[in-house]
């Protein structure tokens, strides 16, 4: 029972927690009475997904796949900006 195995076992629980979080975000995204709620849920879900990807990358010991997480975080930011601008102004560009 060394540190490494404890670490990897704990990652299991982290994965379960993340799945649970996805379910919660999903419920908010489905029920969300206003559009803002849905956008918030999608945003949180995307950023959590990025974090989850990094954790999986540690678990599978592959740094290669972690690059996707950075990209996902950036694109989720763009997604937010677009939704927000549409909801605020009704137009996106101009």
């Amino acid at each position: 029972m060394n540190v490494q195995s404890v670490f990897y076992t704990s990652l299991y629980f982290v994965a379960v927690l993340y799945t649970f979080a996805f379910v919660l975000y999903g419920i908010r995204a489905i029920k969300g009475p206003t559009t803002a709620d849905i956008i918030m849920a999608v945003d949180c879900l995307s950023f959590d997904m990025a974090a989850f990807m990094v954790i999986l990358g540690i678990y599978f010991r592959s740094i290669l796949l972690a690059s996707g997480a950075i990209i996902l975080a950036l694109w989720a930011y763009m997604l937010d900006v677009y939704y927000t601008k549409y909801v605020l102004y009704g137009e996106v560009e101009v």
């Binding site: 290669l64 690059s67 763009m78 900006v81 677009y82 601008k85 560009e93 101009v94």
Partner: protein, 255 residues
């Protein structure tokens, strides 16, 4: 009536689903239960970067397939993208006089910047996106990525720029459709030069192995990067024209 039609459609889809699932699960039509490596894939994995006759000088096997072994597909895929963008420009085209009209009308339009926090953060994020997209594109033959991935990442940067500042920020600085189309043509010229060059060296079309080392893959990635990012930019430049302006122009034209 419509309910009946929908039910019929749904039933036929259920039938299709049952057939497909029977084929896949019961008859194992795709060989999924063991899912072995197909010999073709094994060939690519084994030869893409090993030294020898059939190498492609790239440890990234997908890029090797996309641009070297099956490069012809990708050349035409770039072409599909180009055609789609030209189709878009063709639908949204403006005459010479109309371009001037648009510019006059846009002068009175409000600039809807988003607020300070978003603007400042976006500046930093934009620089990061540009760096990352260049990294994706230029390392296409070493690590995952490639021209198209990098180009679309760059397109997202321009989209962000449009949303957070307005699209006029670019146009005020003198960037118009002419310039983006010119840059697009430069990217495509790089690709075409690279794929035609082997003919001059006495080889087959697209035989980029005749070029020294990894030059072929590098060139193609750079060309695709330029082409895709400026292609997206051209589309969004013209899609960003305000709705009321375009309606007024069209109203003058409908006969």
């Amino acid at each position: 009536m419509t309910v009946k039609r929908d039910t019929a459609v749904a039933l036929s889809f259920l039938l299709a689903f049952l057939v497909l699932s029977y084929a896949v699960v019961e008859k194992d039509v795709m060989g999924l239960s063991k899912n072995p490596l197909r010999p073709l894939g094994e060939f690519y994995l084994g030869h893409a970067f090993a030294s020898g006759e059939l190498t492609s000088h790239s440890p990234e096997v997908v890029t090797a397939i996309v641009w070297n072994y099956r490069g012809f597909d990708t050349l035409f895929e770039t072409f599909v993208f180009f055609l789609a963008i030209m189709g878009t420009l063709s639908v949204l085209r403006l005459r010479e006089g109309q371009e001037r009209m648009v510019r006059d009308m846009e002068r009175v339009e409000p600039h809807r910047h988003m607020d300070l926090i978003v603007r400042v953060i976006t500046r930093l994020v934009l620089l990061m996106i540009i760096g990352i997209s260049a990294s994706i594109a230029l390392h296409g033959h070493l690590t995952p990525g490639g021209g198209f991935q990098g180009g679309s990442a760059m397109a997202v940067a321009s989209l962000l720029l449009f949303a957070v500042f307005s699209k006029f920020t670019l146009e005020r600085r003198g960037l118009t459709l002419r310039h983006t189309l010119g840059a697009y043509a430069v990217g495509i010229a790089i690709i075409l030069l690279t794929v035609y060059a082997p003919l001059a060296l006495g080889g087959r079309f697209l035989q980029i192995n005749l070029l020294p080392g990894e030059l072929g893959l590098f060139d193609l990635d750079v060309g695709e990067y330029l082409a895709v990012s400026f292609g997206f930019l051209s589309v969004f430049l013209i899609l960003g024209v305000s709705e009321w302006i375009f309606r007024r122009i069209l109203r003058g034209e409908v006969r």
